[in-house]
């Protein structure tokens, strides 16, 4: 290893050590812990944990549907989320003036997610038929390279369109965030507890989408075909199931849900619509999918909740009250991933061998 390479390798570690050494004891350990364990703080952390869980489940749902049922690892997932965020923002920004008031804005948002879902489902279906399907009989590396290539193309196309319309692609699209209705923007007093409207909205939408996917998979005939086809595609075909069509629907719906998650993140200043959203979403989505068990929707829901709560608790613990060290919450999320891979490589609900098609 050359000296410069050594310095480059040690640099981040040194920076982390300095940050940790500089970590401030904001309130003193005892006082901070007392505040952290107080009912108000705990309650707000639980609400935040639920909101983060909803986000993590939503951003991972599309990925897990597509991988679990089709065996395709979709690396274009992140950029499709970003496109969903911009499409949702476009609808909101374009029609916000004609939709005033809380009810009008929320109704417009639901119109936006219907538009995003419809457009991205159609795009996902077309992508499966034209690009993914010819590669089913090839090793998974082909699909990974293809979807990685798609993400590069989509990002650059998105960047060109944004620059053409004079929207900065690398910074948050604040105009879209500004379309939030007042009821979602402000903090509400619930039994003396400050609850952010956006968090409640994220929780409700997350529950609705999770329930919708769950019902689709377990209570509809098409869901039954999809689950059968994902376990043994050949057998399902021999029973009359058009597995190709089922996979097109799954890919389309998976991409559609991904886009809806993006539309929701567009309103959240912690994420927001930007090209970088693609990369920001991709990593936690993979963490949730791997921790839950590749391809199990139930596992994704449980892992999303787990990661969401760990994120919320560690954020409160390490950035607000006791120690100011902002990298720790993210570190804990990846510790969950490492722990899972060491102790249970197939994930919480995964099976060791996944049926192919």
């Amino acid at each position: 290893m050359t000296a410069s390479a050594l310095v480059a390798a040690v640099g981040p570690l040194q920076h982390a050590a300095e940050s940790f050494a500089a970590a401030t004891m904001q309130l003193g350990f005892g006082e901070g812990l007392r505040q952290f364990l107080g009912p108000d703080t705990l309650a707000s952390v639980v609400v935040e944990g639920l909101a983060k869980s909803a986000i993590y489940v939503m951003i991972a749902s599309g990925l897990t549907l597509i991988f679990g049922l089709m065996g395709v690892l979709n690396f274009a997932h992140g950029s499709l989320t970003a496109i969903g965020a911009y499409l949702g923002g476009l609808v909101m920004v374009t029609f916000a003036a004609s939709a005033s008031g809380n009810v009008g804005r929320i109704a417009l948002f639901f119109v936006a997610i219907v538009v995003v879902f419809a457009l991205l489902t159609a795009f996902g279906g077309a992508m499966e038929v034209s690009l993914i399907r010819p590669l089913y009989d090839r090793p998974p590396l082909y699909q990974i390279l293809l979807t990685f290539g798609i993400t590069l193309v989509l990002e650059e196309l998105l960047r060109m369109v944004l620059l053409f319309y004079d929207i900065q692609p690398s910074t948050d699209w604040l105009e879209a965030q500004g379309t939030r209705p007042e009821i979602i923007s402000k903090t509400h007093d619930v039994f003396g507890l400050g609850v952010e409207g956006l968090e409640v909205f994220q929780i409700l939408l997350g529950v609705a989408i999770t329930a919708g996917v769950w019902i689709f998979l377990t209570r509809t005939r098409y869901g039954l075909y999809i689950r059968a086809g994902s376990e043994d595609g050949e057998m399902a075909q021999a029973l009359g199931v058009n597995v190709h069509q089922a996979f097109t629907v799954v890919f389309g719906v998976g991409v559609g849900i991904t886009g809806v998650a993006g539309a929701l993140l567009m309103w959240d200043s912690a994420w927001a619509a930007s090209i970088d959203l693609g990369a920001e979403v991709l990593l936690p989505a993979f963490v949730v999918v791997i921790v839950g068990g590749l391809g199990t929707f139930r596992g994704t829901v449980v892992a999303g909740v787990l990661v969401g709560f760990v994120d919320a608790f560690t954020t409160e613990l390490f950035t607000s009250n006791i120690v100011g060290f902002s990298a720790l919450p993210e570190l804990f999320i990846f510790l969950i991933l490492v722990g899972t891979l060491v102790l249970r490589p197939q994930g919480l609900f995964g099976v060791e061998e996944v049926g192919g098609h």
């Binding site: 059968a228 399902a236 029973l239």
Partner: protein, 232 residues
Amino acid sequence: MTLLELTDVETYYGESHVLEGVTLSVEEGEVVALVGRNGVGKTTTLRSVLQLTPPREGTVEYRGEELVGLETHEVAERGVGWIPEDRRIFSQLTVAENVRVAVPDGVDTGERVATVYDTFPILEERRDQEAGTLSGGQQQMLALARGLVGENDLLLVDEPSEGLAPQIVADVAEALADAATETTLLLVEQNLPLALDLADRFYVLDKGQVVDDGETADVSADDERLRRYLSA
């Protein structure tokens, strides 16, 4: 009336030439046994009918319609059912879901499923159980139920007695005999007494070719005519 007719079928796995000009036919209402040693192409013949492994040459006609070129689900939609060699039940679905998935679209699922549960009461008892947790015999019953619930006109049955205890084999034989009263069967079976007992006619396959055929009434399981092709 001829239900299924294979003519000069040539099927390959990659470069491996498995079926070398197989010609056979199945009349409506009869049970035809396809016998032969392991690896001679019996399962491949069934897969060629289903278009799971489409023939490169030759024709596969069902009710006079060419099946080569169709998708497998289109073959199934025409009334061709399959009970595969290794059962291939959907282990992560419940017993009830395994049965339901085989009922064609637009058909009264409840009525069909009830009929099958009458034939296999053990499956109704375990309807909410994950199919992967069933015993081998119960899984075979489920595979049979799944084949029968579609009310197909032709059932391709592959080694239904393989790996089963004698009592279960007797149950399977009884279920197949019942099925044969309503459905045409093309049966691949290593258990020669069972095959000859169920079938009206037989074809002997060796090295990817039909080397003998006839009425089962004319042969017995220890007949030299069959033994030379079937003994290891």
